[in-house]
Every structure is written in structure tokens, then in C-alpha cells.
């Protein structure tokens, strides 16, 4: 059966995953494969006086020991945003966990033993392990700012690093002072957001095979083409000489976006002359990338009736020792900071700050998750002071489709009022609440889509089966199923006649990345266009075969029909080539220069981040119980409603974790909860009693059939909703996560003299 868009097609990879047939990078076996292990710094900031690898190199079974001295023939710095990071530490280490040497050995145990034989002499340096320390006058400097260079994919204008601030992003509109002067209600507060780990079941895994003038890399990476570009740049070779193959990923969530463990693995393979595999463990993954912790100050002004007027925001995000995706995270957070409202004026000042902590990068719904709970809690506080209902105040102030979200950006392309109403209905908004129960709503926008450059090829083989060559990474989100459905729709071909093999830069064409909710919209559009090219070819061939006009032919169930005559696709291709061989090739692309909608202006689309929560508070322990979690997936049109719902649940559960308990705890740069025993991730036991997901299908997206991306929004919407639900019971939140102990302290304080229980840090 053909299973185009709108059908709940079972995942095309479900069977292979549940039976264990699906291959992940760590499953691959190569002849002569060596196992790599990485020596990591125990210091947050220190000079490396000496590294002696002699004893390690002599250990039987060890093939290669790599340090920065082995990389002196290349420019060993990378970083897609800022080229600030050496492949292995040079002369100094900047965070606990920074790689400074690596070993390749015949097995993992030998490699690990060899690490303990590497002698390193450190000289401790003063460290800046918190935002406060890094921003202070006397702070040690993480980098020489005048040597910092933009990376290959910086994309945010010129660098103006200053002190430990590596990037500053500012947006403003209107006369701020005047708008606050008109404000009769002003809410102002400081907030903090913790460092969070983007747990994926499969930690980063890479295999590299050096082949003289080229290299093949199997990597659990989300963006094979960007990794390719960075490896080619680092090892000074044409991009075509770097081949990246991406098997299935055991989850990404942003932790596998951009380049991570690939440079070290390639460096080891280059020196060893044999393929090398590096498989991070969870504790290593935690120091490879994480979500930015943040400090934020926000002020919102409104008229006495709750009409919003002005918002002023300043925030500092801790990007750790190397920028990673920090500048983009900061820019996206700045986009999210005003919230989706009609302001007279707003001003956003956002800073990306180096500290002696592990680098921070992407994590699902970055920026929006950081800012939305803050902005939305101020909107609710204004509603309380204005005596207005939170739903009503939102409907009054929300932007309408076609209104400006941020200066110079794409106009709003979503029905936010409709989305809020859907949440309110699912929450039974306004109905009586049981004791100690609160309800909250959070709505916001996330600049989604990244850069709109994607290409795809569809091959239709002689038997009428199709193979989709597209470089989107299957990381659990179901992209292979979605691409199959998009092609099925256009080709009128049964889903089991369509194959999506996954990314391989030698074979599958360029796609910018898999992230920012972009694949269905952008890579999907490329696949849609490639399939449409084949569709046209089939119609053309059929019109010759039937000797009728193409307009009288219908494609259905893998065949062309004219009245009651039919020819299968296989017969058509044989007719075309006059032989029992040949194939049809369709190609599609998306670029800022063309296509439907406004790919030229950013963002590609505004992803709606919306959530609703009903929580019950245990006043004895401070524990929150989530009785109901609601989300709306504003997707334009759902290709596969079940997959959309599963994405919503996943994002909601991560949002719940971010809101209620996830936090990487640091002490002087050292992680105190660096294993899953101590770092609690959301599990089935944390599920809400009731989970409701609603679709909004207004066909208002820039993808094929009005599709737009999904899967991130709920992660930002849920914490905002939970924070507001708690405020609804009278407990203010200014620091995440909302642990039972913090709630208990807030309760004690509200009972007492309303002392500030959340202890926001002072503004530097």
C-alpha cells in the first residue's frame, strides 16, 4: 500500500532495532581495528610542563600514543563557531576532562592501562570555574582574545571577544525607557539555569581509517557534512577525500551536533596507520558537551490591565573552556527572550562566556528552554498583579500570523492563539482544582531550521523500487520513515518499495545538518522535489508508452494508469531504456536562493514551544507530582502523527527532567555527579499521570504540503508550564531544577518572612 503523508506508518527501522539487527557505529568490525582511549585533564586550569609517553608506548599491545606534538604538521585548531580548540591540549589544559593524549592499542583494557603510564607534570593555574569568577575583573583569561579566529560555520558576523566573553549578541526595538515609563506594572528578577547533560543511550562513538591521502570515518554524528568540512580543514585535504558514514545513532539531542571525538580518532588513525575506534563512556560524554548553565536578569513592563509594553533582558551563558556552539545558542536564546508578544519595545543583551568547565553546545530547543520559563513566569506574575487570567492575558498580547517577531526576521508563521486555546482546553483550564494543585501554561518561539541548504537524490531502479539518498541522520526521530512517506506520496509507491540507507558523504548528497527541527521541512523538501522529478519522468515515459497526453495518466500503486490500461514502473523504465536495465534519477535541492516560502530570511520557520502542566504539591516534602502534561505540535501538517506524538513525549520528558531534577553539579570545575547513578535522567517512573499531545495542522510551514518541523518545542514549553503551575500554588521559582528541597525552602520562606530562598547571584 502507498502510505503518503498523514498516515501512522510503522517505523521502517522498528524491526531491525528491536531485533538488534540495526548497526550502530560501535557494532562495526574492521580488520586490524585498534581501540583508542583518551587521557583527560584532572585540573580545571593548568600548564602542561611535560608529558612523557615512553612507558605507555612500551606496554605490549600499544600501537600508538598521540599528543599535540604529533599534530605539529597541521593547524591543530578547530571549532565550527570559533577556532579555539586544539585537537589535544597544547601547553595548557582548560577544563577537567580535556583530552591531552590518546592511546591506540589492540584492546580497550590495554589502552586504558597505557593511559595510567603516561606521566604528566602540571602547574596549577588560577581557574574561573563559574560565571561569576569568569566575569570578575581579576578573572584568569581562558584564551588570548586577539588570536581567536572564526570557525568555518560561525555565521554570526565578526568576532569581538572581550576578556572571557567570546560573543555578544544584542537585539532591540523601540524606545525602552519610554515604554517602561508607561508601564504601571513592572516585574523584575534574577534567575539561574543549570548545566544539563544531553543524555543519549549511545555515547559518542567514532571509527577512523586513514588511507594515505584520504580518510574514512564512521561516526555517531548528526551533521556528517559539517564534520567532513572540519576534518578536511584540520588535516588539510580536499573535502572529497574525507568520507563520513553515519550508521544509526542511539540518540543525539544536540550532543552529537558538529565535531566532537572525530579529530582525535582521525589523529590516532593517521599516526597508527590502522583503523582506530574511540567509544566514549557516559562520564566522558558528559565532559564532551553539555547544555549551557546561565544567569539571567529580566524586567517586564505592562499597563495596569495587563497589556504588555516592554521587556529588558540580560543573560550570560557559560560555554565552558571552548565555544563549541555557544555563540549560536546565545543568539537563539536572544531570539527567544522577548517571547511571542506584541511589545512596544524590547532590548536583549546576551553574552557567551568562557569558563574552566567542560564545553557546552547544542541541546534540543536550546535558548528557548533557557529563556521561556523566565519570560513566561513574568507574564503570569503580571497577570496576577493585573487581576487577569493567564490564558486571557496571553491571547490579548500574543503575536498574530504575519506580525514581526524580531527585527529583520521572518514574520510569524503560526497560530499561537489557537495553540494556547488547545492547551487550555486539554488542561480543563478554569475548572475547579483539587487542593495544592496548580496549572500553568508556557508559550514561546524557537528560531528553527538552521541554514536552509539540503539536497537529495532519489533513484528508481529497474524493478520499480526507489532508494532515497539523503544525508539526514536517523537518531531515533524517525527521519527514515518520514522520508519514505514523503517519497511514497509523490511516487505513488508502496512504502516497502522504498529504501533510505542513511548518510554517507561519498554517496548521499549534501545536507547542512540534522537538528534545529529542520529535516522534515528542508531535507524533506529536497526529497519531495527529487521524487517529483521522477514522477515527471514516469508520466513522460508513460505518455510515450500509451501514446496519450501526460495529463490523462494517473500514477497509482507503483504503476501508471490510463483508463483501465496500466504499466508498472518497472515496465516503464524497461520501455524507456529498451533494455532490462537502467534507472531513473531525480534530484532535489533547497537553498536560500529559491524554493517556496522565504528561505532567504531567517529563521526557516518559528517553531512553537508550548506546554501545559497540572502539578500537585506535597507540602510535607516539597515534591511535585505531575498529574497532567499537555503539548501542542504546531507542525503545519503531520507526515506521521504517531511519530510527532512520540517526539512530543520525548521532548516533554526531557523538559520535565530539565525543570525538576537535572543538573550537572560542579565543584571547582570538577563534576560531582558524573555518572548515571548520581545524575538522574527522566525514566518511565517520572512520567506524568496523563500525557496529552494535540496537533495543530494549519499548513503554514515552508516545507512540502505546508509542513514545518517539530520535536523540540515541548522541551521549552514544559518547564515554563511547570514553573507557572507551581507559581499558581504560590511558590515562586527563580532557579531550575525545582528540586523538592528547593520547593521546601521556598515554602518555609513564604510561610516566614518571604526571604529570598533562591539566592540569585548578583549582577557583575
Amino acid at each position: 500500500m502507498t502510505a503518503g503523508i498523514g498516515h501512522n506508518v510503522p517505523r521502517v527501522d522498528a524491526r531491525s532495532k528491536v531485533t538488534g539487527e540495526a548497526l550502530f557505529t560501535g557494532d562495526l568490525k574492521l580488520a586490524g581495528l585498534l581501540h583508542g582511549k583518551v587521557l583527560r585533564s584532572p585540573y580545571p586550569h593548568a600548564l602542561i610542563r611535560r608529558i612523557n609517553t615512553d612507558r605507555a608506548a612500551l606496554l605490549p599491545g600499544v600501537m600508538t600514543v598521540l599528543t599535540s606534538t604529533d599534530l605539529q604538521d597541521i593547524d591543530p585548531y578547530y571549532g565550527h563557531s570559533i577556532k579555539d580548540r586544539p585537537v589535544l591540549a597544547i601547553d595548557r589544559v582548560r577544563f577537567v576532562g580535556e583530552p591531552l593524549a590518546a592511546v591506540a592499542a589492540q584492546d580497550e583494557i590495554t589502552a586504558e592501562q597505557a593511559l595510567s603510564l603516561i606521566e604528566v607534570e602540571y602547574e596549577d593555574l588560577p581557574a574561573a570555574t563559574t560565571l561569576d569568577e569568569a566575569l570578575s575583573e581579576a578573572a584568569p583569561r581562558l584564551h588570548e582574545t586577539d588570536t581567536l579566529r572564526p570557525g568555518l560555520f560561525h555565521g554570526l558576523g565578526e568576532l569581538h571577544p572581550q576578556g572571557n566573553i567570546c560573543y555578544h549578541h544584542a537585539i532591540s526595538r523601540g524606545d525602552l525607557a519610554e515604554a517602561f515609563k508607561q508601564s504601571e506594572i513592572i516585574v523584575e528578577q534574577e534567575y539561574t539555569f543549570p548545566a544539563v547533560y544531553q543524555y543519549a543511550m549511545e555515547p559518542h562513538t567514532v571509527i577512523a581509517a586513514w588511507e594515505g591521502k584520504s580518510v574514512t570515518v564512521w561516526a555517531s554524528c548528526q551533521h556528517p557534512y559539517l564534520v567532513r568540512a572540519e576534518l578536511a580543514d584540520l588535516f588539510d585535504m580536499p573535502v572529497a577525500n574525507v568520507r563520513i558514514i553515519v550508521p544509526f545513532l542511539g540518540g543525539g539531542f544536540g550532543s552529537k551536533s558538529y565535531t566532537k571525538m572525530e579529530p582525535i580518532t582521525v589523529g590516532l588513525a593517521r599516526k597508527a596507520g590502522r583503523p582506530v575506534r574511540i567509544a566514549n563512556r557516559v562520564d566522558e560524554a558528559m565532559v564532551t558537551t553539555r547544555r549551557h548553565n546561565m544567569r539571567c536578569w529580566m524586567r517586564t513592563g505592562a499597563q495596569a490591565d495587563g497589556t504588555l509594553l516592554a521587556r529588558d533582558v540580560r543573560f550570560w551563558m557559560d560555554t565552558g573552556a571552548y565555544a563549541d556552539n555557544g555563540p549560536r545558542v546565545v543568539a537563539t536564546a536572544a531570539d527567544a527572550a522577548p517571547g511571542p508578544y506584541r511589545w512596544k519595545s524590547f532590548q536583549i543583551d546576551a553574552y557567551c562566556v568562557y569558563t574552566n568547565r567542560p564545553p557546552a553546545g547544542s541541546y534540543r530547543a536550546f535558548g528557548a528552554t533557557h529563556l521561556q520559563w523566565i519570560g513566561e513566569s513574568q507574564v503570569d506574575e503580571i497577570a496576577r498583579q493585573a487581576g487577569a487570567d493567564p490564558v486571557e492575558i496571553r491571547i490579548r498580547n500574543l503575536l498574530r500570523p504575519g506580525e514581526e517577531v524580531r527585527p529583520g526576521g521572518k514574520l510569524l508563521d503560526a497560530d499561537l492563539v489557537g495553540d494556547v486555546q488547545k492547551i487550555a482546553t486539554a488542561l480543563d483550564w478554569g475548572s475547579p482544582k483539587p487542593p495544592d494543585t496548580g496549572r500553568g501554561i508556557g508559550v514561546g518561539l524557537l528560531a528553527a531550521g538552521a541554514r536552509p541548504v539540503s539536497t537529495a537524490i532519489v533513484r528508481m531502479e529497474i524493478d520499480g523500487h526507489a532508494t532515497i539518498l539523503v544525508s539526514s541522520t536517523e537518531m531515533g526521530q524517525g527521519v527514515r520513515t518520514v522520508m519514505s512517506q514523503l517519497a511514497s506520496q509523490e511516487l505513488a509507491l508502496p512504502i516497502d518499495h522504498i529504501k533510505v540507507p542513511g548518510g554517507d558523504t561519498l554517496i548521499t548528497p549534501y545536507d547542512r545538518s540534522t537538528g534545529a527541527s529542520r529535516s522534515t521541512t528542508l531535507a524533506g523538501m529536497a526529497v519531495h522535489r527529487a521524487a517529483r522529478e521522477i514522477r515527471h519522468q514516469l508520466l513522460e515515459i508513460a505518455s510515450q508508452a500509451f501514446e496519450v497526453a501526460p495529463g490523462t495518466i494517473e500514477l497509482r500503486d507503483g504503476a501508471a494508469w490510463h483508463a483501465d490500461q496500466s504499466l508498472s514502473y518497472s515496465e516503464l523504465i524497461q520501455f524507456h531504456f529498451g533494455f532490462t536495465g537502467g534507472e531513473l534519477i531525480g534530484r532535489g535541492e533547497v537553498s536560500p536562493g529559491g524554493g517556496k516560502g522565504s528561505y532567504a530570511e531567517g529563521p526557516v520557520f518559528w517553531e512553537v514551544c508550548i506546554g501545559g502542566a497540572e502539578v500537585r504539591l506535597n507540602r510535607d516534602t516539597g515534591r511535585l507530582h505531575i498529574t497532567r502534561l499537555v503539548s501542542v505540535a504546531d507542525v503545519g501538517q503531520a507526515v506521521n502523527p504517531h511519530l510527532v506524538e512520540a517526539q512530543e513525549m520525548g521532548a516533554s520528558m526531557q523538559g520535565l527532567g530539565n525543570a525538576l531534577f537535572e543538573e550537572m553539579v560542579f565543584d571547582e570545575g570538577q563534576i560531582l555527579n558524573g555518572t548515571l547513578l548520581d545524575y538522574h535522567i527522566p525514566t518511565t517512573e517520572d512520567m506524568p499521570d496523563q500525557f496529552i499531545s494535540r496537533l495543530a495542522e494549519n499548513e503554514d510551514g515552508p516545507g512540502p504540503y505546508g509542513i514545518k518541523g517539530a520535536g523540540e518545542g515541548a522541551l521549552a514549553g514544559v518547564p515554563a508550564a511547570i514553573v507557572n503551575a507551581l507559581a499558581d500554588i504560590g511558590v515562586p521559582v527563580r532557579e531550575l531544577p525545582i528540586t523538592p528541597e528547593r520547593v521546601w525552602r521556598a515554602l518555609k520562606d513564604t510561610e516566614g518572612e518571604r526571604d529570598d530562598a533562591w539566592g540569585p547571584p548578583s549582577t557583575p
Binding site: E108, I109, E112, T621, D678, P740, E741
Partner: protein
């Protein structure tokens, strides 16, 4: 990463004890492996020799003593077996209830009661309960056997009175009298509990004859809250000063600040959990008497 080790598979307790004596601190007893393998994988400990006692027949038995006055549990009984055993459910339902709350399904399926007690992880659920219960532990070596009250077994964090060549061979739970009932309360935010409280009340003619109260997880070892126990003795079961007892237990507990939470919050939790456990135990004891 798990480094190589040699595994020994003795057929009797004596053989196991001889192996343990021979290897001393280079050996560890391997049962469920849910704690041991974790620390070995993390590199926190390395034992070149593991003595697998799962090859010794009979160590997983759960039975009533011939006198019928105590439940005898083999150390290899898993949490999963204990929570489901008809014998345990009939004669020590509170113990089955607590076992059903240990860690998670995966740990309960593999982890053993003996391993849990001998590892002496400070957040052990059974250790808190057995302390209140007044259980006795039987330790055997090649040439000797001794009985130790649960209170004397756990000495500190990851530290017990078990000698290197000794094997915990039996956990002996005296059956509770008909007019005794208990309750267990725990509070967790992470994999292991932040605070645990076990309460047992013996009620006669509506009066508390005897109270036993243990507080676990907040400090290095579970402790008895004897002042609170003393306060309750002689009070009416339905109107006893449970919240005062909770406060006494809280001040008796000696919590530490750690990743789970501050000492202050844990002390508060002990107060709340103790009060709740006592109230439930009293309700059950009175109910049992009324039914009987």
C-alpha cells in the same frame, strides 16, 4: 571498564571460605553483582579473584524454621524472589513490601539480599528494616559459625563485621507477634533513597507496648532512634505523640550534606517519614488486633 579477573566456583561454604582466606583482600564474593560489578567497571575497586557463591547449593532458600518462630533467608535470595515469595508474604509481609521497593526492577531481578547487606551501601532499604526488626545474621567460615545481631553487623559506610573469610549464610527474621505491625517509608530523588524509616509497634489493649524505629540513608549507617522509641512506650496507639517522636528521630539522626540534599532537609524528611511510618504502623497494629 571491567578489567580481567579470575572467577572461582566453590561447591560448598567451606571451599568458598578457604578461597577467601587464601586470596584475602584480592578476592570478593560475587553474588548478584549489581553493586560489585558497578564499582569494578568504574575502576573504584579491583579484585583479581571473584568467588562466585551462586554455585553453592541451598544458599537461596527461603523457609520457616522448624520451630516455626523465625523466617530463614538464604543470602542468595534475590529482592525479586523475596518480594514474591508466598512464605515471606505470609509470615513477614512488611519485609516483602520493603523488598518490592528496592532500587529498580533490573536490580531486584539480579541483586541478592546478602549482597545488599554485605556491601553496606549507606542507602540500603533492607538494612534499615532489619535493624528495626532485630534480625540476626549468620556468618560462616571454614571452621566456625557465629550469629550477629543486625545492629552489630553494619559498622560504617561499605564496612561490616564480616571477616574476609566469612560468608553470610543466613538472615534470621524472628516472626512478629500478632499484635505487632510495622511500616516503611522512603524518599528518593536519585537512584538511591535520600531517607528511609522503618517503624515497628507492638500494641496491647490499645497501648504501645514496644516501639522499634530505625532511620537509614541519611548517615553512614542506619541507626535506632531509641529516645523516640522510649517516648512512645505506654502511649495510646491511636493518639500517641507521633510527630514528637518524629522530631526526636530527626534530632537523633546525623545527616550529612551531599548530592541528595542538605543535612537540614534530610533531618526534616526524617521527621516527616518517621511520623508517617508510625501512624501507619499504629493503624496496622490496631487493625490487626481488631481483626484478631
Amino acid at each position: 571498564m571491567l578489567r580481567p579477573f579470575e572467577i572461582h566456583e566453590p561447591g560448598t561454604v567451606e571451599e568458598a571460605s578457604v578461597l577467601l582466606a587464601q586470596f584475602g583482600f584480592d578476592a570478593a564474593i560475587y553474588a548478584g553483582g549489581t553493586e560489585l560489578l558497578l564499582i569494578m567497571k568504574e575502576g573504584l575497586a579491583h579484585f583479581p579473584h571473584l568467588v562466585n557463591i551462586k554455585t553453592i547449593p541451598g544458599l537461596d532458600e527461603i523457609a520457616l524454621s522448624t520451630e516455626g518462630d523465625e523466617l530463614q533467608i538464604g543470602p542468595l535470595a534475590t529482592h525479586w524472589e523475596l518480594e514474591r515469595s508466598p512464605t515471606v508474604k505470609k509470615h513477614a509481609p512488611l519485609f516483602a513490601e520493603v523488598e518490592s521497593q528496592v532500587a529498580n526492577t533490573r536490580v531486584r531481578a539480579m541483586g541478592t539480599i546478602g549482597g545488599n547487606l554485605c556491601f553496606a551501601e549507606p542507602h540500603s532499604d533492607p538494612a534499615t528494616l532489619l535493624l528495626a526488626w532485630g534480625a540476626t545474621l549468620e556468618l560462616s567460615s571454614a571452621d566456625a559459625q557465629r550469629q550477629l545481631p543486625a545492629a552489630d553487623f553494619t559498622l560504617g559506610m561499605f564496612e561490616t563485621a564480616r571477616q574476609p573469610d566469612e560468608i553470610l549464610t543466613r538472615i534470621r527474621l524472628p516472626l512478629l507477634s500478632e499484635n505487632t505491625a510495622g511500616a516503611y517509608r522512603k524518599f528518593s530523588t536519585h537512584e538511591r533513597p535520600m531517607a528511609t524509616v522503618a517503624a515497628l509497634l507492638e500494641v496491647k489493649d490499645g497501648m504501645i507496648e514496644h516501639a522499634r524505629l530505625a532511620v537509614g540513608s541519611v548517615g553512614p549507617v542506619p541507626i535506632r532512634a531509641s529516645e523516640a522509641e522510649g517516648l512512645l512506650r505506654g502511649q495510646g496507639a491511636e493518639e500517641a505523640a507521633f510527630s514528637t517522636a518524629g522530631e526526636l528521630a530527626a534530632s537523633a539522626s546525623d545527616p550529612i550534606d551531599d548530592l541528595h540534599g542538605s543535612a537540614e532537609y534530610k533531618r526534616h524528611l526524617v521527621r516527616v517519614l518517621t511520623t508517617q511510618a508510625l501512624e501507619q504502623a499504629a493503624k496496622r497494629a490496631v487493625g490487626a488486633v481488631n481483626e484478631g
